[in-house]
Amino acid sequence: MLGKIILQNLEKHDFPYNIDKKICSGWANDLPKGGETILFTSCMHQTASLSDTFSRTIPLAEKVPSLSVFAKLIKPNKEQLERSYKVLRNIASLLKKNGVNFGYLYEEEPYSGAILLELGYLNEFGIHAERVTKFLKEKGVKRIITVDPHTHNALNRYNEFTKFDIEVVNYLELVKDAKIKTDVSFVIHDSCLYSRFLGLRDVYRQILTNAGGKIVEDLMVTSKEVSYCCGSPIKPVNHELGEKVAKSRVEQLKKLSENILVVCPMCYANLSKYHNKIYDLAEVVE
């Protein structure tokens, strides 16, 4: 049932819930529209701070599907939105500095469908994937640059559901050269998807060390096998559990360093409630 509601929202608002699409594109004004290579945000950075509201709404939607509880327009606060814009602008400028040319679809950019996949609505995800694929092909897109793990993972799985022959690459794979902005040392909170599903764990470590950054590692906290989730993906199912995981994760990380580095907007949103020195990789390198 929930899968169907989300799918309907995707049809209507092009997003799992009702947002003003302008907030998604507000960070970009000097990028060419469309093109064969596009930067694809899926509005994840811009709306990550809303994930809490969204996850609290889900149990309601399951109980009273007839009242479309997702219908209300929701908005991130200004400060959070501005921060996400800065992160996205830094990513765009890092790419340009590394000689990568790309366009952006602005308000027309579709949502990847990650939430359907992650909540286990495989059929609905398949339907959405087909629709997005068709749209991207019509726009002549040949290559997509993703900027967050959830979108990257979702697009990576389109092939299981539809014929998807657009190349998907992550911005981290294209940034070879960057400079660190600070000399503090960081503990990395890995994104589960980047680290254990998409094989990018060493890629951002490399960016950081090449840039002159210092990283603290520990088998029991940051290794591929032992480090764990920020708790965000479980929040739509059980909000409290997600919070408990976030809290315990921050405690583990703080033992190694006060400065926590993340590579995912959802990790940022979830962990930053429990600590104020959390940074996205794109905030500390230029």
Binding site: L2, G120, L122, F197, Y228, C229, V245
Partner: protein, 388 residues
């Protein structure tokens, strides 16, 4: 920190580095794990054939073997062998728990004792187990002392040492072993080619349960069958190593009832050990699962419990996640495999740690994703989506 968090953090700090050390020191174990996965997949591609082969092999070595469809049938077959008014000792077995064996045998007038220390404590407290290797991992020593004093009427208190507590239980159980009529165990692996049952343990209770009573009944899920005796020993080796208990103190092999070849080298049975050996192979939904390309991976699990220690949900939710005895990430798969319960899978936050550490390389998040989709009504069991 809650009592659970304290207990689980201690267990993680003891167990996680230990497994890494073992895998470093004995690198052949990773090789064995790879081979074992292949051997198990071979059985899963044709379970019926291997069940038949196993049954024939057990008969050939003088034992009895049965294939049962569900928990009811399993209880029926086993209670016919046991009868009533008997003294029964049991070694820890998840399948026995799954089919409600202990309580059933008690209800038909038998005295039944769990002999694995953790399981014994669970029996005394009448609580579900919290972890597959350490079923009483949620109890503190103080609580255990109180439990033993009250239930066994022995002289221990909160100040008693771990050693004293173990000694008291040992004294109590010794007498039960000696007087037992029937010993029931699970199986870590069953060899189709020889009909042998392999069991790994550290306490010594399984040896006694399987040798002292005159009747030994082993109960095992279909997935415990491997093609050869060699594969079965491999499973014991890999299981012990990934559980962090390597070398295991004991590996037991039971091939039929006890026998001797000492008089003119003619093999006769029984000798000192059991005069009867029975193997009960339980389906309970497993074969159906084996037909689904994604879900079938569940059946590769060798129950080492490593995934538990690496899972954020288990670390936070603990005992309450999954249907006993199937807790943790593996439990979320098994809850569906044998109870068709999709709810535990919903709690998977796809952190992926479990798949990273699983000796059988089961893509647990992918299995759980499929169970979620079935639970959500998004796909039906058997639909093609997400199969790759």
């Amino acid at each position: 920190m809650s009592e659970w968090e304290i207990a689980v953090n201690r267990a993680i700090n003891n167990n996680v580095p230990k497994v890494f050390q073992i895998l470093n020191k004995y690198p052949y174990i990773l090789e064995l794990a790879k081979k074992l996965r292949e051997a198990k997949l071979q059985v899963l591609s044709n379970p019926e054939k291997y069940i038949e082969e196993t049954i024939n092999s057990v008969k050939r070595i003088g034992g009895n073997a049965y294939f049962v469809r569900d928990a009811n049938e399993a209880r029926e077959v086993i209670s016919k062998i046991v009868g009533s008014g008997k003294k029964v000792v049991m070694g820890k077995s998840m399948v026995a728990y799954e089919i409600g064996l202990r309580k059933y045998l008690q209800s038909i007038g038998n005295e039944v004792w769990e002999t694995d220390l953790g399981e014994f404590l669970i029996q005394l407290a009448d609580e579900p187990p919290s972890h597959i290797l350490a079923p009483a991992v949620h109890m503190t020593k103080e609580r255990i002392a109180k439990l033993i004093r009250e239930k066994l009427h022995v002289d221990v208190d909160v100040n008693s040492s771990h050693e004293e507590l173990v000694a008291k239980v040992r004294e109590f159980l010794r007498e039960k072993f000696i007087k037992a009529d029937v010993g029931i165990t699970g199986a870590n692996a069953v060899a189709a080619d020889t009909g042998s049952v392999i069991l790994v343990e550290n306490e010594g209770n399984i040896r006694m349960s399987s040798v002292l009573p005159t009747v030994h009944i082993a109960v095992a899920g279909v997935e415990k069958i491997v093609p050869t005796f060699y594969d079965a020993l491999t499973e014991a080796t890999v299981q012990a190593a990934f559980a962090g208990l390597y070398p295991p103190t004991y590996i037991n092999v039971s091939s039929g009832p006890s026998s001797t070849g000492d008089i003119e080298m003619k093999r006769v049975s029984p000798a000192h050990g059991p005069k009867e050996f029975h193997l009960v192979i339980v389906d309970n939904g497993r074969i159906e699962i084996s037909r689904d390309e994604v879900l079938k991976e569940t059946l590769l699990c060798i129950r080492c419990g490593r995934c538990h220690m690496h899972c954020p949900v288990y670390r936070v939710e603990g005992v309450d996640w999954g249907d006993p005895p199937y807790t943790g990430p593996m439990g979320a798969m098994w809850s569906y495999a044998v109870y068709r319960d999709t709810k535990p899978a919903m709690y998977c936050m796809h952190s992926g740690n479990c798949k990273e550490v699983c000796p059988m390389k089961i893509n647990i998040p992918r299995v759980l994703e499929r169970i979620k989709a079935i639970g959500n009504g998004s796909i039906r069991d058997g639909d093609g989506y997400g199969k790759k």
